[in-house]
């Protein structure tokens, strides 16, 4: 299949931006799965970093093929999700949030100080193995899976525990188990996103997975909304395209992400795309609301 020349040019010129759209979409979904269960994890950037570093090392040092590297890069994020998720998810929500912010800080200092991870220079010369079609196929696959989950009884349970965890538990939903499953799913999605990001830019560094990216990922989901999995992706795409217009002012771009979070929480608690997925026949849904 050959593309028209103008389209080929366009894809080539904006390749990095197009890749960021896909990767940020995956990160937005990683944020969504946790928020949709009424928990707040700020570890997505940390999980992404773990996926990026472990994936890059597996490719460069162990020479594994990419189709093995991609799933293997989820191992470290999932391990850390379990280490901090198991104790905190039974407590009130602030514990997970605190522990995940802490995780981001401590991993950044680890990347900086461990020589095998390149220190402040990061890792260079990672083979560019993540193709555009792979990134978007994985995004589409994850989105489809989350839509199917959202429409099933699991989705109903997630919504119930988001609205009122006590009532949800009283209805027989194992809230802690759902929360842990959501956090592990989030770690898998973010780990894959990190592995893809590392294999499309050839360079990763310790500061790409710290506090600012963690907050930026939260702004994707809060701007779009968490009623359905399309909304956070829309938020991510909007916030990925917007800074292209203000490239020269990176500090103000971060400030904008922060301000969007503040405004979204205060005035727009359902996000810009607040609609929720329909799961039951019209008649029943009308009665239940």
């Amino acid at each position: 299949m050959t593309l028209p020349a103008w389209l080929d040019d366009l894809l080539w010129t904006y390749q990095t931006l197009i890749h960021s759209l896909g990767i940020n979409g995956l990160l937005a979904l990683a944020m969504y799965v946790v928020l949709a269960c009424g928990q707040l994890s700020l570890g997505q950037a940390a999980f992404m970093g773990l996926g990026a570093y472990s994936g890059a090392l597996l490719t460069m040092k162990a020479g594994l093929p990419f189709y093995l590297v991609l799933p293997a890069s989820c191992v470290a994020p999932v391990a850390f999700a379990l280490i901090i998720g198991v104790p905190t998810l039974r407590l009130s929500g602030v514990y997970l949030a605190i522990a995940t912010i802490g995780l981001g800080e401590v991993l950044r200092s680890a990347y900086l100080n461990i020589d095998a991870l390149g220190g402040a220079l990061g890792l260079n010369g990672i083979p560019e193995r993540a193709e555009t079609w792979m990134i978007f196929a994985l995004l589409a696959l994850s989105l489809t899976a989350l839509v199917l989950v959202g429409r099933s009884r699991f989705g109903r349970a997630m919504e119930a525990m988001r609205e009122d965890p006590t009532a949800a538990a009283a209805m027989g939903i194992d809230v802690a188990r759902y929360h842990l499953a959501a956090l592990v799913t989030s770690a898998v999605l973010a780990g894959i996103a990190g592995c893809l990001a590392a294999h499309q830019s050839s360079f990763i560094g310790p500061n790409e997975y710290g506090f600012e990216p963690a907050v930026t990922i939260l702004s994707f989901a809060l701007l779009g909304g968490i009623g359905n999995p399309f909304a956070p992706i829309a938020g991510a795409w909007f916030l990925t395209l917007l800074p292209e217009l203000m490239r020269d002012l990176p500090e103000l771009r971060l400030a904008l992400n922060g301000i969007i979070i503040v405004l979204a929480v205060l005035f727009l608690p359902h996000g810009l795309l607040g609609w929720r997925m329909r799961r039951t026949p019209e008649k029943l849904a009308g009665g239940a609301r």
């Binding site: 800080e105 401590v106 600012e212």
Partner: protein
């Protein structure tokens, strides 16, 4: 060697305790994890820097003024961000998110304004002399840190335990609605707690700035990891726990840096946080926690 390390550890720990005390006070009374708290730390350091550098004030005057300034910033931020969330069912996480967004915006605006470079107090801000006692060196900066921390912690403890105002604050922490019915002006107490904790955060920023003589906008951000460790180990909202845990963390960090490797400081702090979460999530001194209905 060990004695010197322990002294350095206690001094660092005193600042951590001071910083964490404001953080835990805020959580204990307002029931909010307020992440803009880290910003008051940076703000305090920068206000003191401006006062000593531009105005030429003595550090003994600049420190209380910087604390007051950061306290007022905290009151302003809190009254802008928090009141409208207080009655929401998801208040806990919403206020965490709103302060998270706000603090990112504040740090990046501050960096855009002042630049990311490390700044230092003007030479002579604090005398370079050191006294030596039984082989242990204590610099004037460390002396000031210890004196200021002891004074502030002492004042706060006295306020909380012996005055009527302290009683009112503790009543609001225990049962805000009942306290309101007893005639306590709860919104005013909330402002006062913001002022107090912001001032503690700002004072912590000045003291850490003096200790390491390095000030930059994001310094509050890296301090928050210590704040988290201290309030979780000490028990959320537990002031006595924060004091003990803060001191302990300072000592552990200095010993780690002295005997193993200084790059492990953060990792050790985080390992302690995770270990406490696994074994004793209510904190070493705290009461039981769980999902509140």
């Amino acid at each position: 060697m060990l004695a010197q390390q322990l002294v350095n550890g206690v001094l660092l720990g005193a600042t951590y305790a001071l910083f964490a005390l404001g953080f835990t006070l805020m959580f204990g009374v307002l029931r909010v994890i307020n992440l803009t708290y880290g910003f008051t730390f940076s703000a305090g350091a920068f206000i003191a820097l401006a006062l000593t550098r531009q105005v030429g004030l003595n550090i003994a005057l600049a420190l209380p003024l910087a604390a007051l300034g950061s306290g007022l910033i905290a009151v302003l931020l809190d009254s802008l961000l928090l009141p409208r969330l207080r009655r929401r069912p998801s208040a806990e996480l919403d206020s965490l998110m709103v302060t998270l967004g706000a603090v990112l915006a504040l740090y990046s605006l501050m960096t855009a304004w002042l630049g990311p470079d490390i700044r230092r107090f003007p030479p002579g801000t604090i005398s370079a002399t050191a006294i030596e006692l039984a082989g242990v060196r204590v610099t004037a900066a460390q002396g000031l840190i210890l004196a200021a921390s002891l004074l502030l912690v002492g004042l706060l403890m006295a306020l909380m335990t012996t005055t009527k105002l302290g009683l009112a604050i503790r009543a609001v922490a225990e049962k805000p609605d009942a306290a309101g019915l007893m005639g306590i002006n709860t919104p005013r107490i909330a402002h006062l707690v913001s002022l107090l904790s912001g001032a503690l955060g700002g004072a912590g920023g000045v003291l850490i700035g003096l200790n390491f003589n390095a000030i930059q906008p994001y310094m509050g951000e890296s301090m928050m990891l210590r704040g988290f460790v201290v309030i979780i180990v000490g028990g959320m909202g537990d002031m006595r726990g924060a004091l003990i845990a803060g001191l302990a963390l300072g000592i552990i960090e200095v010993l780690t840096a002295g005997y193993i490797d200084s790059s492990l400081k953060e990792m050790v702090a985080f390992a302690i946080l995770v270990a406490v979460l696994w074994t004793r999530p209510q904190g070493l001194f705290g009461r039981a926690v769980g999902q509140r209905a």
